[in-house]
Amino acid sequence: MLNYTFNWSIITSGQYFDWLVTGLLTTLKLSAVSIVLAFVLGLLIAVMRMAHNRPVRWFAHAYLEFFRNTPLLVQIFFWYFGSYKILPTFINDWLNETGFEFAAAAIALTIYTSAFIAEDIRSGVLSIPKEQMEAARSAGFSYLRSMQYIILPQAIRITIPPLVNQFLNVAKNSSLAMTIGVMEMTYQARQVESYTFRGFEAFTAATVVYLALSIVITALVNIYNEKVLMAHKAA
């Protein structure tokens, strides 16, 4: 059985503690950037997916299927190792100056997550009675304006809980960024492990942080569900 003496002091203070904190901050930064961009992109794709124009709809459909059915790790590798051929030179130059690891991870996470968010938004929109769209169109709003003023404000309110869960997924998925050298939480835990041979302590610390994040966020979603959606239903 397990024959191991735990030594927690090395990760609760000093240099290794600082590494873990930096890791957590990088995880939060990467997740925040990705979720915001993914929301914008996902909204765009969702609207395109429901558009009347066929090529636009097909493009959005292909986008969704492709990015949802490919592993995130492969997408990260593609953006990190292989995207220089398809990106314009000035973007490549800018990326090389600003630290390409973080940018590649953020791009991959954004695109991967946007495909899932688009589906969440779409099911939110589908839950709005279609008479509202018809009424808006007959009142003279264009398709985009009906979406903007009538449908989306309601749909997004319904979509908020799944969106928050997506943030949780992004935070967990951002751990894959360690494979290209982004120094986030898992990377730092691994780093502490290889410097100290204290794998159990380092991974426990990282696990506790991820768990705390997910507990706090799940609790927030539950409160939102109870307070806002229920109140809305009752009204």
């Binding site: 059985m1 397990l2 024959n3 191991y4 299927e65 492709f66 949802r68 059915n69 490919t70 592993p71 995130l72 790790l73 492969v74 997408q75 590798f77 593609f78 190792f81 292989g82 995207s83 220089y84 051929k85 398809i86 967990k172 998925n173 751990s175 894959l176 360690m178 494979t179 898992t186 835990a189 691994r190 794998g199 159990f200 991974f203 990282a206 696990t207 991820y210 768990l211 994040l213 997910s214 507990i215």
Partner: protein, 232 residues
């Protein structure tokens, strides 16, 4: 001028991409990816079934530990679970092959998600059926085994297939502990050839896409079929 997209790196290494060094060496590439996914899928079906049943048990002494375990795993990134297994398994059982470590990690991780599907499937069966079965004199476990599960499991099939798709994608993380599945093979070839990262990663993305999309479509087709036969 060199071609924009040079597929010779794919065609030259095609067998290596597909099956690794098999049959002269260990299985790798797509073959290993599918092996890992299928093995973990079968194991986590049973894992998910057991966890799901425990988490709806009447006895809180088994329900709470099951729920705690499910939420613990669901709150963790898969990469973390793999690292845990990578360090725990040798400490507990001595030397364990990397393939088995990864299968173990994928099974634990996926079981937690499968258990939620099982619970949803059980709760989807009308309560009246359980009450009717109990009043005919069946015991609680008999009701579950003969009445609820056979119907519930059938409704879960599309979700199981979706979970299998996630598993195929998740096997790519085995790369991190040096298991030579498709993603690992791709990074190897990329390191060796140096000049064709775009070609290599677009190619393996397409391979994953073809496999996953086939199963996603299967799941949608099953969903349509099952709901059709239910309506009649």
């Amino acid at each position: 001028m060199e071609p924009f997209f040079d597929i010779s790196v794919i065609t030259d290494n095609f067998t290596y991409f597909m099956i690794g060094r098999y049959p002269h060496g260990p299985l790798g590439g797509v073959g290993l990816t599918l092996y890992l996914a299928v093995a973990s899928c079968i194991l986590s079906f049973f894992g998910g079934l057991i966890l799901g049943l425990l988490s709806v048990s009447r006895f809180s002494i088994v329900r709470y530990p099951a729920l705690a375990f499910i939420n613990l795993v669901r709150g963790m990134p898969l990469l973390m679970v793999i690292f845990w297994m990578y360090f725990l398994m040798p400490a507990l059982f001595g030397k364990v092959a990397e393939n088995n470590t990864v299968i173990m990690a994928l099974t634990l991780f996926t079981s937690a998600y499968m258990s939620r599907i099982v619970v949803a499937g059980i709760e989807g069966i009308p309560k009246g059926q359980t009450e009717a079965a109990i009043s005919t004199g069946l015991k609680q476990w008999q009701v579950m085994l003969y009445i609820v599960l056979p119907q519930g499991l059938r409704n879960m099939i599309p979700s199981f297939v979706n979970q299998f798709v996630s598993l195929i994608k998740d096997t790519s993380l085995a790369f991190i502990v040096g298991v030579s599945e498709l993603t690992h093979v791709a990074t190897q070839i990329n390191n060796r050839t140096m000049a064709f990262p775009t070609e290599i990663f677009v190619f393996i993305a397409l391979v994953y896409f073809i496999i996953c999309f086939a199963f996603t479509s299967l799941s949608r087709w099953l969903e349509g079929r099952l709901s059709w036969s239910k309506a009649n």
